[in-house]
Symmetry: C2
Subunit: 274 residues, 2 copies
């Protein structure tokens, strides 16, 4: 009798050419593509779960997924073996054995998303199509300040498209930070000397055309990060103030918040489990 | 009578499709492409100088260049005006007025290059073709340690291809640092909390598949960074030791050092002037 195992994967992918994580009828999904690789490798039709069902065009730097299998391959070798059946834009960073009660969706306690805005007058090289290009200079300090209103436990109904969950829109945002960074920060090693830059602590003050919003929460509603970005960009454009953000949050009405920012700038960064 | 001005540009470019900075007969050069844009804008045939004559396929995150013109456009507007005549893979980050004695090549006192190695088992998404992919795990701590032998003032003849300068191969390397970083570090804001990670100070200890070598010197010989990388990679592969690097440096003989690492991983990061 074969033993059932639970394999955990950490994934990075460029979501540009996918209709999102979940199996869809309108194009290739990440889930279907990886499930097909599992089928080819193990001969088993597995159900692949993930920490975040990233939307069409959304990327991942550290998505976590899991599937059950009876295949006897050593857990860490699934990485290489599955990769052989995957296209270039999906990369398995790690594979490991998980206990049978591990579930990447339901056991996630914290997730981090990053949203990248290219705020230069022409799109910068290297990350073209992987950021939201907004040429008009945004007031990032104002965005950072207004974002702090959203931290804590709130009903984020104003930032949820379609309310598909129909259960609760209450979530806890642990942290939202904005930063401006020059292009040359690309994989710059972090050293003690760097944090001595004045006011780098409130990182909004640092200069450069690349705006990164990092958000950590216990969970995210459908389109939550992108509608928060769309709202805060209106603060950066001086169209809205901090008070407007307060009013929008309180209204619990999606129609008055900002538009949904483009998927191409959004990255699922990390997932935490207990 | 028209006044001669000196315009300074800061540039980022993806060097993949260029035969290098300098005008060549075998393909489009960055210099020729930008000089053509200047001609179209100003009607003048300008000579464009740069801090580093990056080689075929080498990139820039902060190249500095300058040219003389009699064109009366406000200095900061050259950025936008020239950009209109440039392809997507060359971006002017900044334009400013420089004094007539400013020369981007000869007045540079310090330059920083970064070399990116993708040390994962399959090439990671997002920076495909923009790193040197080496699947076998490198001992980055050993590379970092051996690299320290190269800091200071030395004759770097062993790391110069063709000795084209025929003057002196003595240069001063102020700093070489290696780091390992996870993919999710992509434009992660730098915060005080990050430097409390144990031994991030000797950044070689941090984990992740992306290896960045940052090198700052008063000047660089032809192929110097790439031959240093090619040499230190042999340390990372445990083929050579720290003592071998010492011996190679002392030999002043290019033929015994490592091979020239691929251009696609090399970035001119920043240039300093007095």
């Amino acid at each position: 009798m074969s033993t059932v195992r639970n394999i955990r994967l950490t994934l990075a992918y460029d979501g540009t050419n996918y209709c999102g994580w979940q199996v869809q009828t309108n194009g290739p999904s990440l889930q279907a593509t990886i499930e097909r690789a599992i089928l080819k490798l193990t001969g088993e039709k597995a159900a692949l779960f993930s920490a975040g069902r990233t939307d069409s065009g959304v990327h991942a730097l550290g998505q976590v997924a899991n599937f059950q299998t009876t295949c006897a391959i050593p857990a860490e070798n699934f990485r290489q073996a599955l990769q052989a059946f995957l296209p270039h834009d999906i990369v398995i960073l790690e594979s490991s054995e998980a206990t049978l009660d591990f579930h990447s969706t339901f056991k996630a306690v914290r997730k981090q998303y990053r949203y990248l805005i290219d705020n230069s007058s022409v799109p910068l090289p290297f990350l073209r199509g992987l950021t939201w290009w907004l040429r008009r200079r945004l007031d990032v300090a104002a965005m950072h300040e207004a974002a702090q209103l959203l931290t804590g436990t709130h009903d984020f109904r104003s930032f949820e498209t379609d309310w598909p969950n129909k259960v609760t829109s209450v979530r806890t945002i642990y942290e939202i930070t904005f930063s401006r960074q020059p292009l040359w920060r690309l994989f710059t090693p972090i050293r003690a000397a760097d944090v001595e830059i004045p006011s780098v602590e409130s990182s909004a003050a640092t200069d450069g055309p690349i705006i990164a919003m990092d958000i950590i929460a216990d969970g995210f509603l459908y389109n939550m990060v992108r509608s928060i970005v769309g709202t805060l960009v209106n603060v950066g454009r001086e169209k809205w103030t901090r008070d407007d953000v307060q009013r929008i949050l309180a209204a619990q009405d999606r129609s008055i918040a900002g538009s949904t920012a483009p998927a191409c700038g959004l990255y699922l960064v990390r997932v935490w489990y207990d």
